[in-house]
């Protein structure tokens, strides 16, 4: 065993040596690499690989080290990202890696990934209809497809397919139109008929008198991802590139002089910044109030649910087209599902029983067998519900202050593109080509991106 272990250690050293020696790397602080450069030799936070896992298994897992540093805030940075969730961490990661910026900090009031990125139902998809949205979400989908290789972390991205069921002829027309819009923007879409859906999920309630299943819109590239691991992968990738991830550091004020931001007041002191990017969906109104802004956003609570562990039952993601219900099955076996927001302003991170009943009814209408499963847990997260159901990635009237929010309950699937586009805006002062419509002034100009056609009623989007 010792000989084998030694041989593996030798092999690993060979591999590391092969990828690590580059001029200039040695001059950087230990443990920090610049964009696209391999890690320097001797960096204990080496790349993950199958060989590494085998080696650690054979040597008692003594070689693993903390995945990111825990630095204290410096006096000032070039970029301060407020919010250490999926979007904030992705922003910092792409800012360092793709846009080659340095002196970046992420300020998080709690712990990394403790908000909505750790509370969602993990669905990824790009099945939107409207011009302002679909290119952005398809860009996001493409980033999901290469993400794990890009940040060298297992985010369990699983393109297991998503189907949106329809129950009337009119809904089939709408699904076909949506599918065509997706294809026009480079995404994949197909219409399944009733028998194709039955072959996949024979246990659905096909002959429901009110909502018979007529077929489905399918996106095979859609699926799920391990939500926490997405945050951890971005956090690790950002940390490796020198981004300071500062936890337990809540922004309590903004220092603004002559219309320009100088930095943020925090529970760990003042942090100066040339540019501040706020990515705190759920708490956007609270944070931006420090800059005197009122937003086209209400905060609402969305609940999510998981059943006890079951044997493999649903190998994809499925949404009910008559009520609001969506379900997939986690690798642990729990049915992960959800429905509508509660519908009233809330910052409580917990909902009320009427919506739990409504979601359970949706589940029973779609797949009556779910009534035999026991509910294991429910929880809530706070959504930025915007006035047209679409997000905002834009500059603000304060010079140097940028905003990313209004994700409604679609923020998880947007995580990579949101980070990329926000980093693009922060680094270049121009919106990314897929995010040009996500402007504050679209409401003033009548350019709302309203997928559901509900108008300025955030609780109905």
């Amino acid at each position: 065993m010792a000989a084998l272990s030694g041989a593996l250690r030798f092999a690993m050293a060979e591999i590391q040596g092969f990828v690590s020696v580059l001029p200039g790397v040695a001059a950087r602080p230990p443990g920090i690499v610049a964009a696209n450069e391999p890690l320097p030799e001797g960096n204990t936070r080496m790349r993950y690989s199958g060989l590494r896992v085998i080696r650690e298994a054979l040597t008692g897992h003594r070689g693993w080290t903390p995945v990111w540093r825990d630095p204290a805030p410096q006096a000032s940075y070039d970029y301060v990202i407020v919010g250490g969730g999926g979007h904030g961490l992705a922003t910092a990661y792409y800012l360092a890696k793709e846009f080659r910026q340095a002196r970046i900090a992420v300020l998080e009031k709690g712990y990394l990934g403790g908000g909505n990125v750790g509370r969602n139902t993990t669905i990824i998809r790009s099945n939107y209809l409207l011009d302002g949205n679909e290119p952005f979400y398809e860009f996001s989908m493409k980033l999901w497809e290469g993400m794990e290789q890009d940040f060298n972390y297992n985010a369990m991205v699983s393109q297991r397919g998503i189907i949106n069921l329809f129950h009337t002829d009119a809904a089939r027309d709408a699904a076909t139109r949506r599918g065509n819009a997706m294809i026009l923007h480079g995404a994949d879409a197909e219409i399944l008929d009733r028998e194709q859906v039955r072959a996949m999920y024979p246990f659905l309630n096909f002959d429901n008198a009110r909502f018979p299943i007529k077929g489905a819109l399918m996106q095979r590239r859609g699926g799920t991802a391990r939500h926490d691991a997405v945050a951890w992968g971005y956090a690790r990738g950002a940390d490796l590139r020198g981004v300071d991830l500062i936890q337990n550091c809540e922004v309590t004020g903004m220092r603004i002089e002559n219309g320009r931001i100088l930095g943020v007041e925090t529970t760990r002191g003042f942090v100066g910044a040339k540019k501040v990017g706020v990515a705190v969906a759920g708490s956007s109104s609270k944070v931006m109030a420090h800059a005197g802004m009122r937003l086209p956003i209400e905060s609402h609570v969305l609940q999510a649910f998981v059943s006890e562990g079951l044997k493999p039952l649903i190998d994809g993601v499925m949404t009910f087209g008559a009520g609001h219900f969506y379900v997939s099955q986690s690798d642990k076996g729990g049915l992960v599902f959800g429905g509508d927001i509660d519908g009233y302003n809330s910052y409580a991170q917990r909902g009320n029983l009427p919506v739990i009943e409504d979601v359970a009814e949706g589940g029973m209408a779609l797949m009556p067998m779910i009534g035999r499963a026991r509910l294991l847990r429910t929880w809530g997260g706070i959504m930025d519900m915007s006035m047209d159901g679409s997000p905002i990635i834009d500059r603000t009237p304060v010079e140097g202050l940028y905003f990313n929010g209004g994700w409604c309950y679609g923020g998880f699937k947007a995580t990579p593109a949101s980070g990329w586009c926000f980093a693009h805006l922060l680094a270049t002062d121009r919106p990314h080509e897929t995010a040009t419509a996500y402007r504050f002034d679209r409401f003033m100009k009548g350019l709302a991106i309203d997928e559901k056609g509900q108008g300025p009623t955030p609780n109905l989007h």
Partner: protein, 95 residues
């Protein structure tokens, strides 16, 4: 949540439809200077506080009255319920 209706007594919030911030009562004057900006702010912008919030609820499954409910958005505790008609009249908005 239970909403203590001023006329009907305690009613389940399920009987109501939620609209949002009670400042929606304060519709701007469409003829005034700067009306487009005033309407933009009225229709689209919200204070969205974490804490006490005055908001409009409509008793759709009841007496069809509009209420102004004062509710804490952090605890969901309801501390006040008024008829929206009375609130609007107090502001001189209703005939």
């Amino acid at each position: 949540m239970i909403i203590n209706h001023p006329l009907l007594g305690p009613r389940d919030a399920q009987e109501f439809v939620y609209l949002g911030d009670a400042r929606l009562i304060e519709r701007p004057d469409g003829m005034a200077e700067g009306a487009p900006q005033a309407f933009h702010d009225h229709v689209y912008l919200r204070d969205n506080p974490a804490g006490e919030h005055r908001e409009l609820w409509y008793h759709e499954q009841g007496d069809r009255s509009w209420l102004v409910v004062t509710r804490n958005t952090v605890t969901h505790e309801i501390t006040g319920v008024e008829l929206a008609r009375d609130v609007a009249r107090a502001k001189g908005r209703s005939r």
